[in-house]
Symmetry: C2
Subunit: 334 residues, 2 copies
């Protein structure tokens, strides 16, 4: 493929362009929004491919099933919507046992129960590698969906929770066993691996942030640097990020030492955090922060500001450098 993922998506958008009755928000946001009955429905889909998104030897079928639901629920959450229904298509190699598949669906079921949606359909197939494709249908009150495109210069850039743990878990799970054997059973080791295998979708948090007045929102799946660049592109703005303010996962400290990694780099481009990235007027920040803390015990951190154009990182000494939108590209080798 001679195009990057973002270039290909842009080309596909051109093929699919045009206004369509009933489509409120089309391709390019976390989820599409369409009319349904008298309300608005939110539609999103995500595919997990063995060898690209997961390694069957490193994640249990139960966690994998749950994760396939959660990553879609996270996209629904990023629109400030509520998940309602899921469909799951599955392709499995001949050698996979039925018990593995049933455990996978057990994990999907558990995640659906946790986030109050129902798995209502699917499709099972044969393939050389496991492929899981999940679609989630959500709902949102008319006019209440929060897109990526509402950020305005002067808005603060905020993120929920902390970043980089899943990226650390990925590095840890791929490191040579002899190097990390002891680490896997430490609290921080478990935390990093869990961040990767058992992500959490911020559904209530997304709705709370909408109520608090965020101007744009998306979920962080491909790393802060890349996803922020997408939000800025959609909004036609730029951003200035204070690197020291980025809430780097505390569990990354020991892992970084062991593996020679840079925690800040993992927080910027590790991917799979499934935290929410949003922009908000400075006058709304306190309320948003207080509500998130009181309702969910989740921290909201302001990490920068929306500017007219450009993506700039500012370090502890005040030195500016371009914030490279590097992160997870599904078309690049991991």
């Amino acid at each position: 493929m001679e195009l990057t993922e973002d270039e290909l998506i842009a080309a596909i958008r051109r093929v699919l362009s045009g206004e369509v009755p009933g489509v409120r928000i089309g391709i390019g946001d976390d989820a599409a929004v369409t009319d349904a009955g008298g309300g608005w429905q939110v539609l999103t889909t995500d595919m997990l491919v063995e060898g690209v998104h997961f390694d069957r030897g490193l994640i249990s079928p139960r966690d994998l099933g749950a994760k396939s639901i959660v990553v879609n629920v996270s996209d629904i959450a990023a629109m400030a919507a509520s998940p309602r229904y899921a469909l799951a298509s599955l392709a499995v190699p001949a050698e996979i046992e039925a018990a593995w598949v049933i455990e996978l669906y057990g994990g999907m079921r558990a995640a659906c129960d946790e986030y109050a949606l129902a798995l209502v359909g699917g499709d099972t197939n044969r393939a050389e590698a496991v492929v899981i494709s999940v679609t989630v249908v959500g709902e949102v009150a008319p006019g209440h969906a929060v897109t990526r495109s509402g950020a305005r210069p002067g808005d603060l850039v905020v993120v929920t929770g902390s970043l980089g743990a899943a990226g650390g878990g990925f590095a840890l799970s791929r490191a040579h066993p002899s190097k990390v054997a002891g680490a896997l059973s430490t609290p921080w080791g478990r935390e990093l691996l869990d961040a990767l295998a058992r992500p959490v979708a911020r559904v209530g948090e997304g709705e709370t942030l909408r109520q608090a007045g965020v101007t744009s929102m998306m979920d962080l799946s491909d790393g802060l640097a890349k996803d922020l660049s997408r939000l800025c592109l959609a909004s036609g703005v730029g951003a200035r990020v204070d690197l020291p303010k980025i809430p780097v996962s505390a569990a990354l400290g020991p892992a970084a030492q062991l593996l020679g990694l840079d925690p800040l780099k993992l927080a910027l481009s590790g991917g799979e955090d499934y935290e929410l990235l949003a922009t908000i007027d400075v006058t709304d920040l306190d309320r948003a922060r207080r509500d998130l803390d009181q309702r969910f015990g989740v921290t909201l951190t302001d990490i920068g500001v929306i500017i007219e154009e450009g993506l700039v990182a500012v370090d502890a000494e005040g030195r500016e450098s371009p914030l490279e939108p590097k992160g997870w590209d599904h078309f690049a080798a991991r």
Copy 2:
């Protein structure tokens, strides 16, 4: 895998069992039906895997894209619903050119335009083989969805159009070139290959059959014998099929001779016909037949009758034999 596809689906249904508010029809029919706004929405998903459902060398990306939409629209049609929105997830190997992917989406777009739905979202990924997973959301007036489970003893079994052409196209496309070189450019050769590469979904026909009073309906994707057994299982009934009445595609004659195939066998178990299979009270048959013919020029053929239990085939001499539910199993080698 030690289970057949149907056994695995049954196991998955047990994992996912339970009444859920808002879910009108869950797993096990052509599509799920859920509440949405004040109406009913219909949800279905189908995955096409390279090497299992298609061979990249034997179908153009445009046809493949269109087909990935049409097979889902067919499931919506089988509920007597109308398609509205589609989501498409795609995984492609590294060596695939962007032009191929863009052609694929062009085909999806063309099919969406033809069936009046909008492609509103998706996901692009890397994989070893091409995998296309499409979800279609449709709508139906509350109470108007036609399921597989309403067939009653005494109802006639009917099918739209003719059967077996796609199976013949499959056989033709896989035969040794030296054997079929001349056949590929004959009218019947083209017809068979087109049936496989460019299936048609019976959307208007499904709605017309509902209006005419069909008691159950499904689309024929895995072959008449297998799909009828599924309809009977869902309805808790059996069926008696008159083999000479089955509308075998006329184009199969010359192909059968050339390749030594049995046209009736292809009609029973070739799969991918995407015609509608339905059951109807004998008093409603004439109207259904007339309406389908007048509105769409499509033939409706009664091929048998619903009985209390068992699946029986009756040949031209009146001899009975069990109708083996053989057909396309995604877990069996093709």
